[in-house]
């Protein structure tokens, strides 16, 4: 595994067509994210954050542009990879966390966390499970069902699930969208810790000021483009 896994995007563009209307959800975005960085994406609703991050996370194909993971091309000029190949890239590299937790209600916390192993297991990954549970503070909830724990705990279960296969990059789209402020900042602190843990790259999309502040770098999107300039977002001030 490459220890210096970087993401390099050049001119990423995503065009949606609604009838005759063309929506450029992402419009020529170029950026680089290095291994071990903690980056947040901010910007108004509809500015293309989700669309961009999905492409960076190899969940979606861009209409145009290039994406490289450690110099290896994933997308090139809209030349999409096959779904199976993308799955291979994803499960080697990424862990995903979303606003909704998507825990299976009839599986225990522990079973939900190890669910990815039924499909794919990196060699030796199962040894790290207990450590991950402990780090996320849910080791004492192992045998509970999702319905028996709080929303904050549920999101931590979802994060644990994203981490069991030892991803190099954790991608979180509005991970605190369903949580109150206190739980949100807990998750924020946690993401910071995970970022330090074995140099995990953390990419987070958020409207939450405190969460955005914790990142090393905030990238602001407006109308599908990276916004720079005097009024651009400064992480230490927070932006949303």
């Amino acid at each position: 595994m490459n220890n210096q896994l970087s993401i390099k995007a050049e001119g990423l563009t995503k065009v949606y067509r609604r009838g005759s209307e063309e929506i450029r959800a992402v419009d020529g975005v170029s950026l680089e994210i290095n291994q071990g960085e903690f980056v947040s994406f901010v910007g108004p609703s509809g500015s293309g954050k989700t669309t961009l991050v999905n492409i960076l996370g190899c969940l979606d194909n861009p209409t145009a542009g290039k994406l490289e993971l450690s110099g290896r091309s994933v997308f090139d000029q809209g030349q999409a990879q096959g779904e199976a190949e993308l799955t291979r890239v994803r499960r080697e590299t990424f862990g995903y966390v979303f606003q909704k937790f998507y825990l299976i209600p009839t599986l225990t916390v522990y079973e939900n966390v190890v669910l990815p192993f039924t499909f794919y297991r990196k060699p030796g990954a199962e040894k790290g499970v207990d450590e991950i549970l402990k780090m996320l503070g849910i080791d004492n909830r192992k045998h509970h069902l999702p319905g028996q724990i709080s929303g904050g705990e549920m999101q931590r279960v979802a994060i644990a699930r994203a981490l069991v296969n030892k991803p190099r990059i954790l991608l979180a789209d509005e991970p605190t969208g369903n949580l109150d402020t206190r739980r949100s900042s807990e998750i924020g602190v946690l993401l910071g810790e995970l970022n330090k843990w074995e140099g995990l790259t953390v990419i987070v999309v958020t409207h939450n000021v405190d969460l955005a502040k914790m990142a090393h770098r905030a990238i602001e999107l407006r109308d599908g483009r990276i916004h720079t300039g005097p009024d651009a977002c400064q992480p230490e001030q927070g932006c949303a």
Binding site: L59, I104, L115, F119
Partner: protein, 396 residues
């Protein structure tokens, strides 16, 4: 850890009542299928054994005469027609004939039988030929009478029970006030012989005042004989009807086949409904879980993994339903049999519903195969879900 079987099983637990109802649907279909196939096997086998138990392949009666005790009972004991005894001798002379046995059937209303009285059936048989032809009849007690004019009787199992008679007891023939001695009681044969009281043919002719008359002649044909040609010749006799048991069997089977076609259509519909139910249930659960399936794919599940998971869920429903339905069919075979007896115009006396291990395995295989087929489309749909689906529908 956790394996894909557990995940599939626990997914089904999420909508217990829906999974439960689907299983019930499959169980019902399997139940109907097993019962029907069991009936299919049982009916023909019983009919064959009923005919074999008669001991003769051709029956000659007077035109229009009922040839079965059951029919006679239905007609209230009336409608008997008679043949002259001499015909028996002329038939015995035919080259195809191995043996003949003359019979004289009578039915008498017995006011002391049952609550409001009912018919008793008497069959006068030839002591010399009848026992040799009806070797299937076994004795519980006693023996056959040996003299065709003796005042003796052999009682069928049920008749003896109903009249509570044993060997050595006396029995008074109703209406005629003639007393006979019971010399034998038969074992249960599962045929109409159980309810019959056998008397020497000469005694019946005398007691019922039918000298030299018969109601039927049982004919045992030689093994190598051309039965069809023989029957053809019998038809030439005046005022005679020839009942070929091969024909009877065919008539009954064709009567039953109409009923069978109907019932099989019902079974087919039940199965179709069950299949549609399964597809619907699984498709619904796939649609509800589109986002979740997307998440599973983002966890590294391949299309084939998702296909496998959903297929397993379908299979679990079908196998469970199939097992319950089959067990139910075995458990209710007796009730099914009663029901069929009520529905069909004629039913043989043996077991009507025969459910054996090969049949159970077959049904189980069919239900499983149906499950596998029904699962293909929803599983394929699920496998095609792209992970982006989950995230996209979240923002909308």
């Amino acid at each position: 850890m956790i394996n894909i079987f557990q995940v599939a099983y626990k997914n089904l637990l999420r909508k217990r009542s829906r999974s439960g109802l689907t299983i019930v649907g499959i169980a019902l279909a399997a139940w109907v299928l097993v019962s029907l196939l069991g009936f299919n096997q049982g009916y023909e086998a019983s009919l064959n054994s009923d005919i074999d138990n008669l001991g003769f392949q051709v029956l000659v009666t007077a035109k229009g005469c009922p040839y079965e005790a059951a029919t006679l009972m239905l007609k209230g004991g009336t409608g008997l027609r008679y043949l002259p005894a001499a015909i028996a001798d002329s038939i015995a002379g035919q080259p195809e004939v191995d043996a003949v046995t003359p019979m004289l059937m009578q039915a008498v209303f017995d006011p002391n039988k049952g609550e409001s009285g009912s018919l008793s059936a008497f069959l006068g048989v030839d002591a010399a030929t009848f026992p040799g032809m009806k070797t299937v009849l076994e004795f519980k007690q006693g023996r056959w009478f040996t003299d065709n004019d003796a005042l003796e009787a052999v009682m069928g199992y049920e008749a003896a029970e109903l009249e509570s008679r044993e060997v050595g007891d006396k029995y008074l023939i109703p209406e005629n006030e003639v007393e006979v001695t019971v010399v034998g009681v038969l074992k249960r044969s599962g045929t109409q012989d159980d309810g019959t009281i056998f008397l020497p043919i000469g005694t019946v002719q005398k007691v019922f005042d039918r000298p030299g008359e018969l109601t039927g002649i049982g004919i045992k044909v030689r093994k190598d004989a051309d039965i069809a040609a023989f029957e053809e010749r019998m038809y030439q006799l005046p005022d005679v009807q020839v009942v070929s048991l091969a024909q009877v069997k065919q008539t009954i089977m064709s009567l039953v086949s109409t009923a069978k076609v109907m019932v099989f259509s019902i079974a087919l519909i039940a199965i179709l409904i069950a299949v549609v139910g399964v597809i619907n249930t699984i498709l619904m659960s796939v649609m509800e879980r589109l986002q979740e399936i997307g998440i599973l794919k983002s966890m590294g599940a391949m299309a084939s993994d998702i296909f496998q998971l959903i297929w397993l869920e379908t299979l679990m429903l079908c196998v469970t339903g199939g097992a319950i339905g089959t067990a139910l069919a075995v458990a209710t075979a007796k009730i099914t049999e009663l029901l069929i007896r009520r529905l069909l115009p004629y039913t043989p006396t043996g077991g009507l519903v025969r459910i054996d291990p090969p049949l159970v395995l077959l049904t189980f295989g069919v239900v499983t195969a149906i499950g596998l087929l029904a699962g293909v489309y929803p599983s394929w749909r699920a496998g095609r879900v792209r992970p982006i689906e989950a995230i996209r529908s979240e923002t909308e």
